[in-house]
C-alpha cells in the first residue's frame, strides 16, 4: 500500500465510523422521544452485551443507544486495525508492532473495566 493511500484509507474508516455512530445515536434518541424517556430518568439501562440483540430486535431505544455508543468507542480501534493491515502490507514491521501494542492496551482496558 502506498504511503498517503494508507492515511486516506484509515481516514475513511474513521469518517464512516463517526457517521454510523451518530446515525445509531440519533435513532436511539428518537426511540427515547417515542417512549417518553427523559435523559435524566433513573436508573439508566445498564450496559449488557447479551441483551443488545434482544433490545435491537424489539426496537428498544436502549439497544440503539448502546450500539451507537459501542460504535463510537470502538471506531478508533477499527482505525488501528486498518493501520495494522496497511503497515503489514507495506512491510513496516516496527509500525505493525506499535499497532499491536495499541490494540493490546485497548483490550486490556476493556478486560480491566469488565473485571472490576
Amino acid at each position: 500500500m502506498k504511503a498517503g493511500r494508507l492515511e486516506r484509507t484509515v481516514g475513511l474508516v474513521l469518517g464512516v465510523g463517526a457517521i454510523v455512530s451518530v446515525a445509531l445515536l440519533a435513532m436511539g434518541i428518537a426511540g427515547m422521544w417515542a417512549a417518553h424517556v427523559g435523559p435524566l430518568d433513573r436508573p439508566f439501562p445498564p450496559f449488557d452485551l447479551g441483551r443488545l440483540p434482544v433490545d435491537l430486535a424489539s426496537l428498544k431505544a436502549a439497544g440503539f443507544l448502546w450500539l451507537g455508543l459501542l460504535a463510537v468507542i470502538l471506531t478508533p480501534s477499527f482505525r488501528v486495525i486498518a493501520s495494522l493491515v496497511g503497515f503489514a502490507a507495506a512491510g513496516e514491521r516496527r509500525m505493525v508492532a506499535v499497532a499491536v501494542v495499541v490494540l493490546a492496551a485497548i483490550c486490556l482496558s476493556a478486560a480491566l473495566g469488565a473485571g472490576g
Binding site: A3, G15, A18, V22, G28, T75, P76, R79, G91, E92
Partner: protein, 290 residues
Amino acid sequence: MAELLLIVGGVAAGAFGALLGLGGGVLIVPLLTLGFGLPLRESVGASLVCVIVTSSAAASVYLQRDVANLRLGMTLEMFTAIAAMAGGLVAFLVPDRVLALMFAALLAYVAVTMARARDARDGRVAQDAADAPGDAPREAAEDAERRPGGTNTAGDGGLIASLSGPGYRVRNLGLGVLGSLVAGVVSALFGVGGGIVKVPVMNLIMGVPIRVATATSNLMIGVTASAGALIYLFRGGIDPYVAAPTALGVFAGASLASRLSHRVDLGTLRLLFVAVLVVTAAQMALRGIG
C-alpha cells in the same frame, strides 16, 4: 425538553471547542455536572464519548488531507492509551470532591494557557513559517510520492526518521513519551482529549509544526479516550440517556464551527472562553470544597 437542552449544550460546547482548538470536553463535564446535576464520574464518561466522536470526525479529514502524522501519532498513543487505562482505574478510586478540585485546577490551567495563547500563537506562526513553508497537505502529498515502497523511513531506517515528516525532524522523543503519559491520565481522569498537553509538547518540545501537532493530537485523542471510556463503560460510568444527546450536539456543534470559523472573531471568543473557564473553575472548586 431535557434532551433538547443537552443537545443545545453539546452544540455550544462542540462549537466553542472546535473554534478554539479544544475537544470540548473541558466544557462538557462542567455543563453536565453543574448544569444538569449529574455525578462527576458520569459526566466524565459522557464527555469521553463526545471527545471520541469529534476526534474521529476531525481526524478523518486531517488524515485524508495528509496533515496528521499517522506514524508519530500511533507511536505516542501507545503511551497515552496505557496511561488512560491507569487514569480510568484511578478515577473510580478518587473521591468525587477531590476529583472536582482537580478538575477546577485543570480549568484554571486551561484558562491561563488560553489567555496567553495570543502571544504564543504569534510566535508559533512565525516558527511554523520557518519550519514548514507552504501548504502542509500539498507538501505531505508530494513527500508521499517521494517515499520508496510507500514507507516513511527516509532512507536511514531510523526511528526518528520514520516518525518525522516533510520539513521537520522529530526531536526529544523521550519527553514526548512523558507528555503522552501525562495526557493519557488527564484524559481519563477528566474526560478531555488531552490536546492541551499534547499539542504544546509536540510543537514546542518535539519540533512538530503546530498544524501537524494539532492534527496528530486530534488523531491520538480517539484511541486515548477510547481506552479510558472502556473502563467507564464496563463499570457503569456511562449513562446512554445523557451521553447520546450530548454527543450528537457536540458532533453538530463541531461540524458547524468548522464552517463558521472564518466569520468569528477568535480574539473576542477566546476572552469570553477564558471568562467562562474562570467562573466554572470557581464553581467546581466550591463543589469540591463542599
